[in-house]
Symmetry: C2
Subunit: 447 residues, 2 copies
């Protein structure tokens, strides 16, 4: 049985209700003042005027609490409850004020490697239909696309690609790389991209997962890459920063890339797939976490979201295997591009998250066949990973474009001599940035 | 409907069954050879003799596969299926050969902060009764301990502590630090330690979680701290390394520390607890992951397992707040000790895992009361974290003892001038290593 409230507790409750009419708190004993302050915070009632009231008491414990929680007036006129906002980043009060973004700030980009997208689009209709879609047809695909009605979309084909980049460009948009043309043509802040052999997954309660909403949540709540939080994402409902987590690191940084996962068929390489053809991923891990600074990860292009304004130019189709095929395990362009983005995020002070959302990946392809041609990519990872792990950018690189150009020079110098694929990648990175700048400039004139 | 097997496939199945009677494979076409090799691997039938058979074919694709998978004869006589063992580390075939450890290689260490352990012990009986227990009574606790029968245990009290370390030692074993006396007295390879206000949690299927078994699994399968695996622990059933993960890093390293989590009451600091008194952790995240190299985390002493032989001397009660209390949020000794272990693991090439197992943490204490005295620890984290993040040990430090001594000197020099608590911590670290060496030497003589 709960104990009845004490008289002191009831008095504090009443004070809380009438706080805006009180002009002096200095007569209160310090422990009551502290209690009142905490309850004010919890109730989301801390305004500039009320903060001044507490500060005016001059009581040490209260002043120390205010300073430690890093509560400061934020001079942004559009936010009324500015203290709570500033505080939410440092003590995560209530729930992190998630930035509300509009549907028209998001493009869904789909690379069409299959001509019949009917079942793919129908499966995603509930999720996709609110957004603008960019569908890029693999230029190697002969048949016409089949796409059901009722979506707001633009379709780009080989002729559009050639119109923009020319057919002789070093940037190649065939196979899985066709989606990068969509990244180039988008003018939205956020992009979500999902492979056309994936359908919405269900969570462990059997509910359909809105992958787009989860990517946007990941991108619009802070990332915390400088110290590991053992309870995963501290900004999720019901979670927080664990004891020992420095307060100065709790406000986090902008998240620029959200890497989702896969149920059913996971994103394995050809040897793993060939050795374990029956293996299916059925474990739903209900977590999102910030990948720590200076830690590299294998970003899979199957299911991602990113902030195009922050890192768009770093998602690039630069690393093309000589024997690149039409199965995921025959490509590494996304792994390469992912490490570019991670290095750039680390350098520019942005974060990368991994975990939710899941998509359901359907099976296709014979990995044993791929094994006969795909050793190249696996071998190259042994050079690629140490390269990106040790890559440090100069202070002169202050935009994603700068960073890609600087990285391209390092690729050319350090990896170029090892294999022509690296030299080509360096060249493509430079060309991609040129293209990005041209297209962006054209769009801003057109807008 | 599944397609019926092809004749080629049936022929390969038959060849697999009779492989030990075949003396030459070179007449087989390369694609069949590759298929046969993969099936041999999957079936766990690759012996030294059979490997030679495949090597003798001289076929490029097979030789390349063998080299890429890093398949080598391991010259350890005790393992018969030595190839599969070596391979399991690089391609994770079947399931990672988990080292089978005996129950008598584990000590469960409990710090008794409450005198009546009856319900705690009864809740854990099914899990604990197989193991030897070390119970250390908080020297500040006046009442006699109440412990139910049927356990194999040793109890240590104030008099035992004084007998071993003297009452004037700089190493203090009161409050939550009493458990460290148990770490000192243990002679087992593995230690699991759980706070006496925690009971076994249930997983998301409602099954009771065996926290000890999970810690041992974490400690006896490799950690992979050099590259982030987006599917979490690659050695769990149903998981693996994701495409792009370098093969050279797949064998991983020894795991020295396993950090478990908490359902119900999470391990928050006093301000978080005070601001969100009703918050309970109900999210069961079904994952274990390696904390990447050079990444610091807030290790909570509530629920951990570690390899005493590898890092025992680094789990030390050195960082004692002037106003340390009897609630978890009034202590930071475990946070300090955790960062010592992490730095040492990074230096010596061991891994640290975080995630499963969960325990169910019961509530107690009034965080608002603690707030009135506990700002010290929170403020100090702002100095402690950058210190450990930038700490690099010299090549001369080759054991955990060496590392602690070297770190103590750095603490004294860099943090000592800031606060007497740091100077005391440095002194205690040196004294602890001395104590560890004396006790270990005495035990090895007694054994």
């Amino acid at each position: 049985m709960r104990k009845p409230p004490t008289l002191v507790s009831l008095a504090i409750d009443t004070a809380l209700l009438n706080l805006s009419h009180i002009s002096d708190l200095s007569f209160l004993p310090e422990h009551i003042l502290l209690d009142l302050f905490l309850r004010t915070l919890r109730a989301g009632k801390l305004t500039e005027k009320i903060l001044k009231l507490f500060v005016a008491t001059g009581k040490d414990e209260v002043l120390s609490l205010i300073s430690e929680l890093n509560i400061q007036p934020v001079l942004t006129p559009e936010y009324k409850s500015n203290f709570c906002l500033r505080l939410s980043a440092s003590l995560n009060v209530g729930k992190m004020a998630q930035v509300n973004i509009r549907d028209d700030e998001v493009d869904i980009v789909i690379g069409a490697l299959h001509s019949d997208l009917t079942s793919f689009m129908e499966e995603w209709r509930a999720v996709f239909s609110r957004f603008h879609l960019i569908i890029v047809k693999d230029p190697d695909l002969k048949e016409d696309l089949k796409i059901p009605g009722g979506f707001n979309l633009d379709i780009y084909k080989r002729s559009d690609i050639e119109h923009v980049v020319g057919s002789s460009s070093t940037v190649v948009f065939s196979g899985y790389s066709c989606r990068y043309f969509g990244y180039l043509m988008s003018c939205k802040k956020y992009i979500v991209s999902i492979d056309d052999d994936c359908i919405p997954a269900k969570d462990d309660m059997g509910e359909l997962i809105d992958a787009v909403a989860q990517h946007i949540t990941n991108l619009t709540t802070p990332a915390t890459p400088f110290f590991f939080n053992t309870l995963y994402d501290p900004f999720r409902k019901g979670a927080d920063f664990v004891r020992g987590y420095p307060f100065s690191l709790r406000s986090g940084v902008h998240c620029a890339l959200s890497c989702g996962l896969w149920l059913n068929l996971a994103d394995y390489d050809a040897p793993t797939q060939a050795l374990k053809p029956g293996q299916r991923n059925s474990r739903f891990v209900d977590a999102v976490l910030s990948v720590p600074v200076r830690v590299m990860l294998p970003v899979s292009g199957i299911n991602i979201g990113f902030d195009r304004e922050l890192v768009g130019p770093a998602l690039l189709p630069a690393f093309r295997l000589a024997k690149e095929g039409k199965f995921r395990w025959e490509t590494v362009e996304d792994i390469w591009s992912g490490m570019c983005v991670k290095v750039i995020c680390d350098h520019l002070g942005f974060g990368v998250k991994s975990g939710l959302p899941y998509v359901w990946r359907k099976e296709r392809g014979d990995a044993v066949e791929s094994l006969k041609k795909e050793w190249e990519g696996i071998k190259m990872m042994e050079e690629v990973v140490p390269f990106f792990q040790s890559m440090r950018l100069s202070q002169a690189a202050v935009t994603a474009e700068d960073c890609v150009i600087e990285m391209a020079a390092a690729v050319k110098e350090r990896l170029g001599p090892l294999d022509p694929t690296f030299a080509r990648a360096a060249e493509t990175m430079v060309e991609w940035v040129r293209l990005w700048k041209v297209v962006t400039a054209q769009m801003s004139i057109a807008a």
